[in-house]
Each structure stands twice: as C-alpha cells, then as structure tokens.
Amino acid sequence: MKRAVLLAILDTMLPGDDGESPLPRASEAGLDLAKLERLAAPVAAGLGGVDAFLLAAPADRVAKLRIVELNAAPAFKALLAEALASYYESPPVLAALGWRAAPPQPHGHALAPDDAGILGALEKVRSRGRLWRT
C-alpha cells in the first residue's frame, strides 16, 4: 500500500483541529506507521480505488470510509482502535490537550485539598437526620 493512502486514511479518521493549541492531524503526530500499515491494507482494499480516494475532497473521503466501516466492520474497527491508541498516546497530541506525556507513575498528579466550606456542608447533611432503616 502506498504510504500516501495510509496517511490519507489516518488523517480522515483523525484530522486534528485548529484550536488554540491545535491537535495535529494523524500524519503529523509522530505515529509508528508499520503496524498501522498492515491493519490499513484491508480498509484500503474496500475504498473502491485508492487513487480516487486520494483525489477526493475531505467530505468525500469521509463518505468513502463510512462505506468501508459498514462493509468491512472488523477490519475497520481494528485499524481505528490501533489508530486511536497510537494517536492518544503520542506526546504532541497529549500536549495539545494540556496533558503530560509521562505515564501516571512515579510522579502521580496533583489534587487540590478540599476547601473547608465543602466539608462543613456535611453538617447540613447530618442535620437532615438518619436515612437507614432497621
């Protein structure tokens, strides 16, 4: 499969956005393409001609992929799952979403302590009386 076809499929699935900290499109997110290439082969085969897909406008590419999603659901699902996993663990994507690339440990995350007012409100809960039955 031509690299351009793979990238066009991935960019149709994950086009990115142009928000304040823009989400990159899949082809610019530094994904490892080898595994994706293998999974994309049966999806590309269902497109009804890869050249036409490459020439199509973005909305038409979406329509063509939707047809493959219906007709070759397991292959499409497998590619989508891998594409999403690769994309949403990619450091530039995480950074665009304001999230760090390092895994949860060993640093953990921060949670602000509760303000006293919130826990003070428990007095109100208590004052409404017991809720349990015997």
């Binding site: 996993a85 949860p104 949670l111 039955r133």
Partner: protein
Amino acid sequence: MASGRQVRCDPVDVAIVGAGLGGAAFAWRLASRAPHLHIVCFERGDWLDRTDLPAQKPDWQRLALGSWATSPNLRLQAGGNGVSADYPIDDSGSEFKPLMWNGVGGSTINWAAHFPRLHPSDFRTRTLDGVGDDWPFSYSDLEPYYDLNDEMFGVAGIAGDPAYPPKRSRRMQPLPLGRGGAKAARAFDELGWHWWPVDAAINTVAEGARQACNYCGPCQQGCATGAKSSTDLTYWPRALAHGVDLRTNCIVQEIVLEGGLAKGIRYRDGEGRACWQPASTVVVAGNGIGTARLLLASGLPSPALGRNLMFHPAAYVRGMFAEELDGPVGPVGCALYSHEFYETDETRGFKRGIHLQVTRENPLLVQALRLEPGWGAEAQRLLREEFRHSMAVLVLAEDLPEPHNRVTLTGATEADGLPGVRVEYALSREARRALDFGLARAEEMLRAAGAHRIVRVPLAPYTGWHLLGTARMGSDPTTSVTNATGCCHDAPNLIVVDGSLFPTVGACNPGATIGALALKMADALLGEKP
C-alpha cells in the same frame, strides 16, 4: 502438563482455595486465633510485582485495555500478563461481563477500593420489603467484623454519615473530592439530597512501606505506590507471619467429596504436576464464578449451586461542563456518593434502592473510544469538549436473587484443566426501573451542577465487578448452598467464605462485607465470638 505419579502431600487441617479477599481474611483470622492449625492456601495466580505495572509505562492506556484490562477474557485475548492466571468465561449470554483478578490478592488487586458497607435493611429484604431473602444474621451481628476488617484494610473517610448506623472514626482523612466532586457536592446540597465522601480502602497518609496515594488514576491496573489496600498488602503478610502456607501458581482442579464430606483437594502445581492434598476442612474462596465453577466441577449436588448470580446492574451518566475539572486524576472510583435513594420508597415504582457514585474520569484513550461518532472531526471536537470537562456518575441498582441468572459448566475442558464456565444473566424489569430512576436522578444532579450536555449510558456491560450469590447462605438446602456459617448443606466440612455467600446484595460495593463475612466464618469454624 507434566505426567507421572500424583504427588501426595501430608494431610493438613485446613486447605483454602483462593488467596483473594475472602480467602486472605479467613486465613489470617483462623491462623491468628488457632496457631496450632496447619493451614494451606492454594492460589492459581502469582504475587503482583509493583515495579512492573502499566502506570509506569508510556503505553499504559493501551495495556489497560489489553493484557491488564479488568476483564479476564480481554486479558487472555491480548496474550495475558503472566500474573493473573486467567480462565476464559463464556459471557455471551450475560448482559454484564464478569471482571476479576486471578492472583494473590484476588480482585482487590484491580478493585477501585470504594469501601461501603451494606445497610442494616439489606440484611432483611424479605421482612421489610417482601422481596429477596433475609440474611441468616443481622447488620449488628456483622458489625464487629466490619470494624475489624476496616482496621485491617485501613480506611480513609469521615465518620458520622447519616446513611449508616454510627461507625468508628476513620483512620485517615478522606481523599480530596477534587473539582468535580466539589461541584457535585454543592449540587446535592442544592437539591437537599444526601451526599458523603466515600470510605476508601486507600492510604491518604503513608504507612510503613506503603506510600500515600499520589492520585495517579489507574487503580484498576494495580497500585504502584501500594496506597490502595489489596489483600496481598493487608491480610497476607500477617497471615504468613502466623504460619499460613500460601502456595501460588497452584490450580485446584477438584474438591474430593466422599460420603457427604470433603476429603481434600486435587490441584495442579506450578510445574504442572498433579497433586493430592488431604485436609480435614476445605474452604473455598474463588469468587462468585470461580467458586461455583470448582464446586460444580467437584459434583457438589446442591440444586442452588451456581444460581442467583448477582452483579449490581450498572449504568452511567456523564455531564459536560464549561469549567475545567480534574479529568483522569485521583482514584478512579472514589470521590463521593449519595444514598438519598438507597432505601425502599414504593412510590418510585420499584422496591429496594439505588446507589449514586461520583467517580473520577477514565484515561484519555477510554474517553476517545466511547465517543459517538467514533472518528472524524466531530469525534475530535467532542473529545476536546469532554476531556477534563466531564463528570461521570455511576448508578448501581440492587439485583435480587433469580435462579435463572447463573453460572454453569460448558462441555469443554479448558487449558487450566477445569471444565469451561458460562455465565447467563438477564436484567430484571424491576432492576431496569431502578436504573432508569437512578439515571434520571443523576442527570438532575448534573444539571443542578451546571452541566450543559448530558450523555446517558443506560447499561454498561463492562461493569461486572461484583460476582455474588452463587453459593448463597440460607436454611433451606433447595434454595441455598450453605448454612449461616458458610458450611455446605451437602458437605459440612466444606466451607465457602467469599462473595458467593450473599443471599441478597444491597445496592453498593461488596468488598467490606466479603471481608467481614470471611472473618465471621473463621470464628464460626472455631466456635468463637469476635
């Protein structure tokens, strides 16, 4: 598997199957009160290595959906993880998919450590509401064991919750509610509804080698800091110090029954050898599926065995907020809960109640995978809108015992040497009504909190966390498997000490009750009181 002669072990007083929650609590209590007994526990899986968990790896989100998923079937499909010795479960006939961990610590390795007790009324559903069955003892009979189990696990929380009889003060300060939790608390207040910070079996202060929780998030893939209590950290070190012999990687194949008594167990050890362990008493704690599977495979004749499987049917509502919230930060299941609607009120159109739990968010990848549409510009727009701006409320309902919801054996023999196991479960109309009622209340709370968009998940299949009721206690051998002390009606020296025992399940998480029950059963075996 190695062939050859069967290895014969020296007889022991007590052989326990399963080193999870019930098995660990039982082993510790028995060993600490009766040091003269020779006690052996057989566990099919291994010890967890906390230096090698998904949370420490860059591909942790992917691992959490594959070889470290909460579902044993998904773990097996991904090639397994070498610690949890999983077996496949045919869950195609069940609306909820069973989740568990098969290694030392059992499902407390991947539990969320939300640690509520049942209410007193949960022990008397037949008397109070005319449904289900009463337990053979009351909340107050179990209370000293709840207290002891709390001590052993270590609880972070705040005493004084009016949804419960008074509890002892909690050892540690509660987990922070976080931005989402605080928002929910204010909304519950505005509606005049009950809420309380959860009791969590999670250290909020360091204790010995166990650190305080650092809010990393993925508790359901094991806790790297050891802040989350699991029985490999709580009960097991103490049980081993009392001389219990814990044999890991040993898969029990059969409990040998003769003349209405258990004679011992046949197991396959880590080297694949067939072994015979004679025992005066056999104790089973394999969880609501593993126990039923083993007892069915052993030919225990009880007609109620495997039946009355209960899960706590679950549904979710997510609310989206303009303000930034915490996202996947903090222990995933533990923020706060409401028992405003826990007790029966027949004007709602169903008996029994619901539990509302404000949780923390899932990892980014899970959030991306649950969107509809699943790809394209709209999916990415939705993800932007949701990530760190959503709050999830879990609704748990009480499912009553129904004999057709059950665990059975398939005709196949699995790789672990045991017969295959199948789960059949259909949501009752009553439970559906309860879930719908709960979803509506959760939505009301989210709207009061300011959510601008709501997504309902009316039934969440991958929430089969609680595997209960398949070897239930009772006095009638046609409708129950054990008596009030966990002894099987059909083999009095065969004792069940896990979640299978529940005659009914209330509407909230079972861990605290399973631990308390196992402690009580150990005392009952010794003829002792708390």
